[in-house]
């Protein structure tokens, strides 16, 4: 099997230019969707019959939590591709993912806590989903810590790629074990951080927000990707061309 074919597919100059061209196509729809969803979520959607206006936190919490997992998965897939076929661009994608994912994981934790206080009467509940989210945050921290500890970019790429793949295999196991553990210790009176029964006017903004955040992630990824590609590129001729100097 010839791996030069993949190399052409992962050709840095091509991807660099493509990323540059595609960014606005993701950024503008993302912005429009998020603003529309904010309006829908904060104004149009009626208060929940049980949680009142408190349920509106879902429009921030759920997309953040979705981002945390989706970004990690993207990162692990990119890392695996980079590891197996030695494609620099794939490593650049993985490297671009981590800070985005980590920051949204943190947002999911904070919004979960802000949601928990009025619903559970406590800032932190060892709810399985919040606990898994916390572990995911630690996985991100470990990934970024490992990258930061290795100076050589190529070695950092390949070492952290192994970790990302190991991590993604572990995420479902961790989630399962935490749910299992929680089901043993769950006090029956505590209300689960739940999906309220969502009507269409409530659901539509949520779906728009999820899509908006996803497009937003792609846009941010494309911008970061260009930087990461430049950092990995040694050939002067196309850098000169890409920078227009």
């Amino acid at each position: 099997m010839s791996w030069t074919w993949f190399h052409r597919l992962g050709s840095p100059p091509y991807i660099y230019r493509l990323a540059q061209r595609l960014t606005p196509w993701f950024a503008w729809p993302a912005g429009a969707l998020i603003i529309a969803a904010l309006y829908g979520g904060l104004v149009l959607a009626p208060p929940d019959y049980l949680q009142g206006d408190g349920f509106r936190i879902i429009y921030m919490h759920a997309p953040s939590a979705w981002m945390s997992l989706m970004v990690y998965t993207t990162m692990a897939v990119a890392a695996a591709v980079g590891l197996i076929w030695r494609i620099k661009v794939a490593h650049a994608v993985a490297a671009s993912c981590a800070p985005v994912g980590a920051s949204f994981t943190l947002a999911a934790l904070v919004t979960g806590s802000l949601w928990g206080e009025p619903m559970w009467g406590t800032w932190w509940e060892w709810d399985p989903r919040l606990t898994s989210e916390l572990i995911l945050f630690f996985l991100y921290l470990g990934y970024m810590g490992l990258r930061g500890a290795i100076e050589d970019t190529q070695r950092a790429d390949r070492t952290s790629a192994v970790l990302a793949v190991v991590g993604v295999v572990n995420v479902p196991i961790i989630h399962y074990s935490v749910s299992w553990w929680n089901s043993l210790h769950q006090a029956p009176s505590v209300m689960r951080l739940g999906k309220p029964a969502l009507s269409t006017t409530m659901l539509a903004p949520l779906l728009m927000m999820l899509l908006g955040f996803t497009l937003f992630f792609v846009a941010v990824l494309l911008v970061r990707l260009r930087g990461e590609i430049l950092n990995r590129e040694r050939s002067a001729s196309w850098i000169r061309e890409a920078l227009g100097t």
């Binding site: 009142g52 206006d53 997309p63 904070v110 949601w115 937003f216 260009r226 050939s235 850098i239 000169r240």
Partner: protein, 48 residues
């Protein structure tokens, strides 16, 4: 916000701040990479 303002607004503020920061960080990291690449070119490092 029916008594939930103290929780809803911070949640929105935190998440949207994270989103905005991501844009800022991404642009900054790209700018830094471009700067570093320019410096490499000027130093004559790299070749075709």
């Amino acid at each position: 916000m029916g008594g939930y303002a103290a929780f809803v607004w911070p949640a929105y503020a935190v998440t949207l701040t994270v989103a905005v920061l991501n844009v800022v960080w991404a642009r900054r990291s790209l700018a830094q990479a471009v700067e570093a690449a320019r410096r490499r070119l000027a130093a004559g490092g790299g070749d075709s």
